[in-house]
Each structure stands twice: as C-alpha cells, then as structure tokens.
Amino acid sequence: MFSHVMLGTNDLDRAKAFYDKVLGVLGAREGSINVGKGGHHRVFYMHGQNIFILTQPINDEPADCANGMTIGFACASPEQVKELHDVAVANGGQSIEDPPGLRDGGALGPLHLSYFRDLDGHKICALHRPAA
C-alpha cells in the first residue's frame, strides 16, 4: 500500500542520529542524506520495499506533528517490538501509552505493541502480529 512516509523535523541531524539507531533495530542501514530541488535536506531510509524519509519542511515553516497520526513499523518478533521502543527511549524518545507488550487487538487478534514519540513529537508504533 505505502510507497513511502515522510516526516518533518526541525533538527535533521538530531533526527537522523535518532532514526539511525531506532531503524537499525529493524536492520535498516544508516540513512542517506539527499538535497531536494529547493535546497532542503532530507534523509532516506530504504528497508523492506518501503522508504522512510525525514525532511526539512519545503515551505520553510517549522515542522510539527499531526494530532491523531501514528506511523506503524513492522517488527519481526515481540523482542524487537520492545527493543525498538527501548532504543528510542534511550536516545531521547518518549515512551507513551502502555508499556511494550501483548494486547488484545479484538478482531485483529493478539498484537505485540509499543508506542513512543520521536524527538519532533511524531507518534510511532512498533507492531508484531503473531502468525494466526
């Protein structure tokens, strides 16, 4: 479904250092810096046939986060769900909602979940769905 997800940041270097470590948990390589046509810098992460991008907003206004928005990252195991969260928190992210663990996803079945906010306040979810 997704070709890519792009998030704005007010400190690209700091955001890159954060996501280099966090997405490293999933096996993603260090982000690569790229300069857009308008001179705005962004960082690309390519992993699992998707692209995650951090960017300086192209309208030169401050980046902010959307209330109501969550980006879910796929994890290979319950341990990885916790590790993604723990690495984020160790690097300045904020743990939110319930601690990492198994939750009843209703019709979706059991889900291993953790939630944190990144350094710009974006809400991130780590999810592993056990095989049915």
């Binding site: 997800v5 792009m6 699992g48 206004e61 401050p62 980046a63 969550t70």
Partner: protein, 126 residues
C-alpha cells in the same frame, strides 16, 4: 517496513467519503470500525482515519507526507480526480516526478483534514 499509518480527522464522515473514493481508485477496499474508516490489511499495510483518541482536535503535520503505491499512471490520475471530487484539495497535479535515475509518476492531495498524501507509480509510460 510499515504496518500501518493512522491519520486524524475532525469530520469522520467527510474523511471516510474522501478515502473511500481515493482508495477505491487504487483498487483497495475498506470498512468501518466505530467512527474510524480503514483500508487495506495486515498483509499489504493498512491505513486508518478517525478522531484522535485524546479527544483533542485533529491536526495535520507540516513537513509530513504519506505516499501510496499506484499500479499505473491512470490509477494515479483516477486517485487525484477522486480526491478533488470528494472534498480534497490539489497539492500537485499528476505528472512525471523523476528522482535521479528513478522514473516516477505521481500526484499530491490534501485530505479534508489537511493531511498531505500522494500516490506514485514506478510503472511509467515512456
């Protein structure tokens, strides 16, 4: 990499109408769960739109974009037209947007809540 993306809305009916039409143009089916609408599934990724859980107003992010995959250029065209016809606003007309050696065709919209989304295909007509 991504399992899902959730965006907020202050008008669930308007957002559901918009996303029903735009995901329909991409051949992706959806449904309802309470006041949220959802599209796709766990196998290929899913998208959901609904009121924020904290009860505060939904906002869109400056600097953020959610990119959706389209199979063909005509799907991108249909996606963009469906969005405009269902409460979205134009943020970039369908056209070539090559990046380096990568041939891309895409279009941009804002949903009724202002969230910026785009649809891209790498299946480009030369």
């Amino acid at each position: 990499m991504f399992t899902h993306v959730v965006v907020g809305t202050n008008d669930p009916e308007a957002s559901a109408r918009f996303y029903d039409a735009t995901f329909g143009a991409l051949g992706i089916a959806g449904g309802r769960s309470g006041s949220s609408a959802y599209y796709g599934g766990y196998d290929g990724g899913f998208f959901s739109v609904g009121p924020p859980r904290d009860g505060e107003a939904a906002t869109h992010a400056n600097g953020g974009t959610i990119g959706l995959s389209a199979k063909t250029q005509s799907e991108v065209d249909a996606w963009h037209a469906a969005g405009i016809a269902n409460g979205g606003s134009d943020e970039g007309a369908p056209g070539r947007r090559d990046m380096g050696p990568n041939k891309l065709y895409g279009a941009y919209l804002r949903d009724p809540c202002g969230n910026k989304i785009c649809a891209f295909t790498t299946n480009v007509d030369d």
